[in-house]
Amino acid sequence: MAALCSAVGVSLGAVVRFLVPSVFYGPPQSFKIGNPGDFPYGPPTFLADEKIFVFRDRERGFAVASAVCTHLGCTVAYFQNDRDFHCPCHGSVFSPTGAVLHGPAPRPLNWFEITLTRDGQLRVDKDKTVPPTYRLMV
């Protein structure tokens, strides 16, 4: 009985492990987004494939906010008139710093680290979150 149970247990464990992918073929978490000059001042630039907003401010420099709603993962939109982020799925609203204003989102929007590479390009790393006050001066 014990032998049977352990055999079944081991097999089940192996099946579950088999189903966990060993390699993820998703898009890379860290990538270049172009030259600083590509980005205008004023309203943020939305990069659809990466799902990020790139902010450029004359005094304070670059910052990158995630466009993925912290509630259930829909893509938020930026509205210029109230400068808030609105989620189309369940109505979460985030302030310009990413804080939750209302709706079901449990956490503020993520901000990602943005750095300058040696060849003068901007690089975003989605594995490194930073406080909303983080800025890259160029």
Binding site: Y25, G26, A48, L72, C74, T75, F79, P88, G91, P104
Partner: protein, 428 residues
């Protein structure tokens, strides 16, 4: 002519159907029909008792199996081919859009019918002893039906599919401890993508249908072993409520009233079991209450089958299954809505993901499964089970209201928008 008759006889191997023996043999010599008894209780055939909802659910499942296999001939489970194949089915394949429509509408209808069937079983108190566990099997079938809808929803790989599944699987990741890992296991990645489509496909065409078939066999077998359907309420005899629901359930039932064997027919399990044989006795007046399954039960089932198939075909002629633009991870449609039967859930989720998306539904499922074990009131009469009926009705109505709110009263940004108000998109 004689040889034709001989061949026919070699196939059917029964007496002519004009005889009682032939009618019984038709049932019990046939592997497909012998899940029926040779004779059934007349009153149990009444449409107004079961509405044949269990049968209709089963027939819808058969439609889904056949049309599903047909669709598989043209469907490649990876993006963007999956979406192109949908377009092909809709515009190029002969009868492609008709088959796709049938598959889609039968799936919706199955969700409705399985739910109504459950309500019928509840309101007639048919989950009570000895049928407790068949109710549990039923709940599993309900969950599998929803699982099939959910996995099928991703396959067209359009915007609706992509975002409903993104939101749906993110709800799961709120489950404590294992939620995140479970989501990755289901998606085969961090987000809905190629791997997820393939996994959903495997679940949808292989794993879940096999489980439904297995559990349906168990479900039917137990209905049969419990002596067919429970007695209609109006047939319950006032003094002998207990004795009526005992056929084939040997253990610990109320004592059967056994009348002298000489004038009754008895059926029993003899020689296969040691110890006291299990007898079910049928009194002459009960015998008068039964009819042969052929033709009485079979004709009714055939009518239900034909009505189901024709209704689905008719709907499929006039209404096309929706197909939106190709899935685009960058743009969330506004509002992004799950399939209608999950909109009650989505409404709850819009208030709190953990509470509304995980805790409340999990408790509901557990409560649903435990109903026959919590409700120990032996009576099946509505008058004697007011509490149970009120409570169940409350949950059914609450669920329906939430679905209606989610479907008709939620607009862009999940804001409260009554259906008679027209919204103009807000400029970005």
């Amino acid at each position: 002519m004689k040889w034709i008759r001989e061949i026919w006889q070699s196939i059917v191997r029964r007496d002519p159907l004009s005889t009682d023996k032939g009618k019984s043999e038709l049932v019990f010599l046939n592997v497909w029909l012998h899940i029926h008894p040779a004779k059934v209780k007349k009153e149990n055939l009444r449409f107004k008792y079961s509405f044949y909802l269990g049968f209709i659910t089963f027939f819808l499942f058969l439609i889904l199996l056949t049309t599903g296999i047909a669709l598989m001939c043209y469907y490649r489970p990876y993006p963007p081919a999956a979406y192109q194949d949908m377009k092909d089915l809709q515009f190029a394949v002969f009868m492609g859009s008709f088959l796709r429509n049938m598959h889609r509408w039968a799936a919706h209808a199955m969700v409705v019918c399985v739910f109504l069937h459950m309500c019928r079983v509840f309101y007639t108190g048919s989950y009570k002893k000895p049928r407790q566990f068949n109710w549990v099997v039923g709940v599993m079938l309900l969950l599998l039906t929803l699982g099939l809808s959910f996995t099928g929803y991703l396959l067209p790989w359009d915007q609706l599919a992509y975002w409903a599944i993104t939101v749906g699987t993110n709800i799961g990741s709120y489950a404590p401890l294992v939620g995140g890992q479970l989501r990755e296991l289901l998606l085969g990645g961090h987000a809905v993508g190629e791997a997820a489509l393939l996994r959903f496909y495997v679940l949808h065409v292989a794993v879940l249908p096999s489980l439904v078939i297995l559990l349906t066999i168990v479900h039917f077998w137990r209905v049969r072993k419990d002596g067919g359907l429970s007695r209609p309420i109006w047939k319950l005899k006032p003094q002998k409520t207990e004795a009526l629901v005992t056929i084939g359930a040997p253990a610990a039932v109320a004592p059967l009233q056994v009348t002298a064997a000489s004038k009754d027919k008895t059926y029993g399990l003899m020689e296969v079991v040691t110890g006291k044989p299990i007898f079910e006795t049928v009194t002459p007046e009960e015998e008068k209450d039964t009819v042969f399954s052929y033709p009485y039960a079979f004709v009714r089932e055939a009518v239900a089958l034909m009505a189901t198939v024709t209704s689905i075909m008719a709907i499929s002629l006039f209404f096309n299954a929706p197909l939106e633009e190709m899935a685009n991870p960058a743009v969330t449609p506004n509002p992004a809505k799950a399939p209608w039967y999950f909109l009650g859930l989505q409404e709850l989720v819009s208030h709190s993901a953990l509470l509304g998306g995980v805790v409340v539904p999990a408790l509901m499922v557990v409560a649903l499964i435990l109903i026959p074990y919590i409700d120990r009131n032996p009576s099946r009469r509505p008058r004697e089970r007011k509490w149970a009926i009120w409570l169940f009705t409350f949950f059914v109505v609450a669920n329906i209201i939430l679905i209606i709110v989610g479907t008709f009263f939620r607009g862009p940004g999940w804001a409260w928008v009554p259906p008679w108000v027209h919204v103009v998109a807000r400029p970005e």
